[in-house]
């Protein structure tokens, strides 16, 4: 399992999801991707995208104005 980070700050929907989708496509099942966003819509969209594509949101937290969403890549990637 490897950890990766994606900076999607100052991007509006659906760009954080698109960038996450592109990045996840390069990762292996079990890898963890930490996505930094500022668009509050990402708190709905990234979990929704994960659910329909077989990935898992393992944590979500806010740091100042940043939202950090941690995704574990599923086998459906």
């Amino acid at each position: 399992m490897n950890r990766f980070e994606l900076d999607a700050r100052n991007m509006l929907c659906p760009l954080p999801v698109i960038r996450a989708q592109e990045r996840v496509a390069t990762l292996a099942p079990g890898d963890v991707l930490e996505i930094l966003c500022t668009d509050p819509g990402a708190t709905n969209d990234i979990p929704a995208w994960c659910r329909i594509n077989g990935h898992k949101v393992v944590a979500m937290r806010t740091e100042d104005r940043d939202i950090v969403i941690t995704v574990e890549v599923g086998t459906g990637a």
């Binding site: 929907c13 659906p14 819509g41 709905n44 929704a48 659910r51 329909i52």
Partner: protein, 347 residues
């Protein structure tokens, strides 16, 4: 066991594409959704930048639709390729800068490419004959099928019975009898079908998902091209056109004035790239300068900033101007009176 046929469905966020995908899922076809991000898409989030739109759900409707349908969704960034559709539409524009027919052909064409790359069998859309004045007419639908390269692998489940047989129907992958023959602008059939499927919540019934159909947005885009001297844009240009009050006091610069805290937060992300102003003696908006403004222009920009501050009725407002290289200067200005602002400055 027989491998199910596979269809890629254009999911546009509205009801029709949702129903089309649902009809095909009912026939045992494996369906995955595809959605294209052009940069001009109207989303709940875009509206939600503004404070008074905060009650709108902050979600991507295409993802929400896919979740309701239980299908995978692929959101594809087509910003760069889409520029040619907007700038040079072969079939021209609609009422505003909306190149609807070229756009539909482009999107079906991209879905067709995706279908080929992923070994899917056909493409489905939620198109209905007569639903849209430009891209969904009996005479334009064959153009979309031809120019997209999808030809008879393009199936429109909601109006298939009004159209010639397609490959999935001829081959028996789908049963034509279970497809529909909806035509015209009425939404009654779709709403009835939605109720049959138990779908009570869905996004806008039809259209309204693209900023290019908006008169004011198109006017701002036309202004951008005119003042730039060429029909060119990048993503930041078209994102900024969605936000704030735009005023062009001079041909070589315009101001983008945040209208509320939500827009201030969004425009804050551009502070390092653009000259910006904000009042310091009174509460007021963040204002971005788009273009080349110097000397007297900045004085004018400061007076306009003061006009939109809470000090608008006072004799003097202090406005800080931040240059791109980081230098700051405070201007003490008289707020501009409403009658001093020509109507044509507002875009």
């Amino acid at each position: 066991m027989k491998t199910p046929r596979k269809a890629v469905a254009l999911i546009s966020r509205g009801l029709d594409s949702m129903l089309a995908a649902r009809l095909i899922l009912e026939q045992g076809i494996l369906v995955e959704g595809i959605n294209f991000f052009t940069g001009f898409c109207v989303e709940g989030h875009t509206h939600a930048i503004r404070d008074h739109h905060q009650q709108k759900p902050k979600r991507n409707n295409a993802l929400w639709v896919a979740k309701q349908l239980g299908i995978k969704l692929h959101i594809i960034d087509v910003i760069e390729e889409y520029k040619d559709v907007v700038i040079n539409p072969k079939h021209g524009y609609g009422a505003n800068l909306n190149p609807c027919l070229d756009c539909k052909s482009f999107m079906v064409g991209k879905a067709r490419q995706w279908m080929e790359q992923h070994a899917f069998d056909f493409v489905i859309t939620g198109e209905v004959i007569g639903q849209r004045p430009k891209s969904q007419r009996r005479d334009t639908m064959p153009i979309v099928a031809r120019e997209s390269g999808a030809h008879d692998r393009l199936l429109r489940p909601l109006c298939a019975k009004l159209l010639p047989l397609t490959l999935p129907e001829r081959e028996g992958w789908v049963d034509r009898e279970q497809l529909l023959g909806i035509g015209g602008r009425s939404r009654k059939a779709q709403i009835t079908l939605a109720a049959r499927f138990g779908l009570s919540e869905y996004a806008q019934p039809a259209g309204g998902c693209c900023f290019l159909t908006d008169r004011q947005y198109s006017h701002k885009l036309a202004d951008l091209w005119k003042t730039r001297g060429e029909r060119r844009y990048d993503l930041d240009d078209i994102m900024l056109l969605k936000v704030g009050r735009h005023l062009r006091p001079r041909p070589y610069f315009k101001l983008i004035v945040a209208r509320d805290e939500g827009e201030c937060n969004f425009l804050n992300g551009y502070r390092r790239r653009l000259v910006h102003l904000f009042p310091t003696s009174h509460k007021g908006p963040l204002v971005l300068v788009n273009g080349d403004a110097h000397g007297e222009d900045l004085q004018l920009a400061a007076r306009l900033t003061a006009r939109f501050s809470q000090g608008r009725d006072t004799d003097e407002v202090s406005v800080t101007v931040c240059e791109m290289h980081g230098a700051e200067q405070v201007y003490k200005v008289r707020p501009m009176a409403p009658e001093e602002i020509p109507a044509h400055w507002y875009l």
